[in-house]
Chain length 207, copies 2
């Protein structure tokens, strides 16, 4: 890996190392020197490529959330019943946080330290909501789903997925000593899909 | 208020001020000097009353969570249908975080900064789970509820309530510009109770 690192463009290396350092140390805890040093770039590289450390943080959030939202939009656009679409979105969300376990921490550091949402998150929240809205409205148009507020459905999905990403590993041994964390994660994923789908489905449609 | 402050025992003033300062600045960000000064106590008061700053943090968490759990246990023990018990628990949880908006931040600072759950939280998680388990099993015994894992039901409740407490105010203007935050909060509270209750209820029982 050592030799390949320098083949990656400096901008990408800065994003990769900043994502890791912001997630573990927070925005203020990760210094410009820490990030440029880890990315094998010179001290001025963040200013040159991004303008400021805050703009680098926004770029880190954007690149992470863009991947998440594209996964959700892709899951929403596949063929199948609306219940299957919703289950696919749920699977995509759990899969994303399994692969990127530092993402909630990246946002939490900001939320814990100051009031307000990082502005870079806003367009991705809206796109996520639009994707879920599409599936909910399609299900209603097809007679599969009852009338429901897509904002509240998105909230139910996201809150359970993100809270599990934040606290899941810590909570398993406390609440469920009999099972291993991996099988507990599978049960939670299945459960969240069940809860939201069953809420929406009209009688006579398979869950 | 100024004169009354000194009537409160020093130990209580330390907990009150530490709760506020840990929530806004985090465990490390709130110094012993900050806390004792805000509580109008001498520098050695934390060591005298608690033994250490970490033990004071645990006492803060314990006093906060004890109130939460007693509310949940009380809601679970009232008469009425099992669905009504679950709705009461949900109302109690939302009410608690509305009255103590800094509580999630208190825990997040710790979760964001290190791996692992603060040990002081563990007994309260278990008591919360036991209270929900009692309601779910009562509902099953009475033929109101389907068979369900109380751990997963508790997870659905807590994750939605806590995530709303963390992010609710910030998210409202992003997703729902038409409504004011207070009426959005009411809709979320109603929705979370609906989602979890409808998941559990067998056909023919009122939601």
């Amino acid at each position: 890996m050592g030799d390949n690192v320098t083949d990656t463009p400096t901008r990408d290396r800065l994003i990769t190392e900043a994502r890791r350092l912001f997630a573990t140390r927070g925005f203020r805890g990760a210094s410009v020197r820490d990030i440029t040093s880890a990315a094998r770039a010179n001290l001025g590289a963040i200013t040159y490529h991004f303008g400021s450390k805050r703009a680098l943080y926004d770029a880190v959030l954007e690149s992470t959330l863009a991947e998440l939202v594209m996964g959700v939009e892709d899951a929403a656009a596949q063929p199948g019943t609306s219940a299957e679409r919703l289950r696919d979105i749920c699977r995509t969300l759990f899969g994303f946080f399994r692969e990127h376990p530092a993402t909630p921490r990246l946002i939490l550091h900001e939320l814990a330290g100051r009031a307000g949402l990082p502005p870079a998150i806003v367009p991705f929240i809206r796109r996520n909501l639009a994707a879920v809205r599409g599936v909910v409205e399609q299900g209603q148009a097809r007679g599969e789903f009852r009338t429901a507020d897509p904002t509240l459905i998105t909230f139910s999905l996201m809150s359970q997925v993100i809270w599990f990403a934040i606290i899941g590993r810590e909570v398993v041994p406390v609440v469920d000593q009999a099972t291993d964390p991996a099988s507990f994660a599978t049960r939670v994923e299945q459960h969240v899909a069940d809860v939201v789908t069953r809420f929406l489905l009209l009688e006579g449609h398979p869950a």
